[in-house]
């Protein structure tokens, strides 16, 4: 069993948290347990903190929250462009300032979130917004559509993004009065690994 450790410093809180990737043996988890873990993974990836920037080929990020009513396109006529970082129009980082690692973010309701990576949309292959649980599951189970990552590499990606002060860490600790993605980062990593060790099962249909 491999054990990876990373120290994640949560800005805005003095607490430091260790995030580990501790994969169960491949095949050691039942399909039922795997599907239950997938349900929780889906709760995370379909949460607005994640899905609003995992949008499709229209490259339009979404906004949602108690003050918005329905989820709606990002204000200011924003498009991430095909570059997905806004390079063709207004770069995301004109407002979503890129911090140096360890620098504390400027925080508050309705402020553009800041992380230690250049703000961007996820690659279009990773579209989650508007997709069903079965569609997202099939995408995440297919290394051709995860940037070549299998389930262990997906979990490592979550850990490493957090280590860089990136978007995954932010989704669970978004500040500004925003609802965080559920369960927490370590539980999410564990759920991805449980789902993976069960053979990345997906319900068909739905």
């Amino acid at each position: 069993m491999i054990r990876f450790l990373v120290l994640v410093l949560f800005t805005g809180s003095a607490a430091a948290q260790e995030v580990t990737v501790d994969p169960p043996e491949d095949g050691s988890v039942s399909r039922a347990e795997g599907l239950a873990a997938w349900e929780r993974v889906h709760d995370v990836v379909s949460h607005p903190r994640c899905a609003n920037c995992h949008v499709g080929a229209d490259n339009i990020p979404m906004w949602s929250g108690p003050s918005y009513g329905e989820t709606r396109p990002h204000g200011m006529f924003i498009s991430g462009g095909e570059s997905r970082i806004g390079a063709e129009f207004l770069p995301c980082s004109a407002c979503h300032v890129t911090l140096d690692a360890g620098q504390s973010r400027t925080d508050g309701p309705h402020r553009p979130p800041q992380v230690a990576l250049d703000w961007r949309l996820a690659p279009v292959d990773f579209q989650w917004f508007g997709r069903s649980s079965a569609e997202i599951c099939a995408q995440m189970a297919d290394p051709d559509r995860t940037g070549g990552r299998d389930w262990v590499a997906l979990a490592e990606h979550l850990r490493d993004d957090a280590g860089h002060g990136g978007f995954v860490k932010w989704g669970f600790d978004p500040g500004g009065g925003r609802a965080p993605a559920p369960y927490g980062l370590q539980a999410h990593i564990d759920d991805v690994l449980t789902w993976g060790a069960a053979g990345t099962p997906c319900e068909t249909g739905g």
Partner: protein, 153 residues
């Protein structure tokens, strides 16, 4: 912190989380840059930070350490008018004027990255800069005029 503003170097003692907008206005007296909202919703505070149009209200001082800042006071070298400023006068864009320094700096950056922008491009890049007086049609016309002037040299 060290900061170069419109070509002049400054050494400042400020809190690392003080927004660049405060540093410019309150510490250095550079008041061409305006405060509208403080939360990146209006664009009034737009400056160029190392050549990139940014909302100064969102940049913590620590993130601007050693950077070169250009404000409306320095555009066009200080004494001359930049082509965008000339076009703004020709088109009589401003009404109350409050948003215009931010509009002009955003437009100047747009023309550096895209010398002949389409209307869609202009709208996509400029829509983060609000104008309570509704000068948007004149802003668009002035950007086209400035683009033509810059292309003619």
């Amino acid at each position: 912190m060290r900061l170069t503003v419109n070509g002049t170097e400054h050494e400042l003692d400020v809190e690392p989380d003080m927004p660049l907008l405060w540093v410019l206005r309150d510490e250095l007296g550079v008041t061409g840059v305006k405060y509208g909202c403080g939360i990146a919703q209006c664009g009034a505070c737009t400056v160029h930070l190392d050549g990139m149009a940014m909302r100064a209200c969102q940049v913590p001082a620590a993130a601007a350490e050693g950077a070169e800042v250009l404000t409306i006071e320095g555009l066009g070298g200080g004494d001359a008018l930049h082509a965008v400023q000339r076009a703004w006068i020709d088109e009589q864009v401003a009404q109350c004027g409050y948003c215009q320094a931010g509009q002009i700096l955003q437009a100047a950056w747009l023309l550096e990255t895209s010398p002949a922008p389409s209307d869609e491009e202009i709208d996509r890049v400029m829509s983060g800069n609000l104008c309570r007086c509704g000068t948007y049609p004149r802003i668009r016309a002035a950007i086209h005029a400035a683009a033509a002037a810059l292309r003619e040299g």
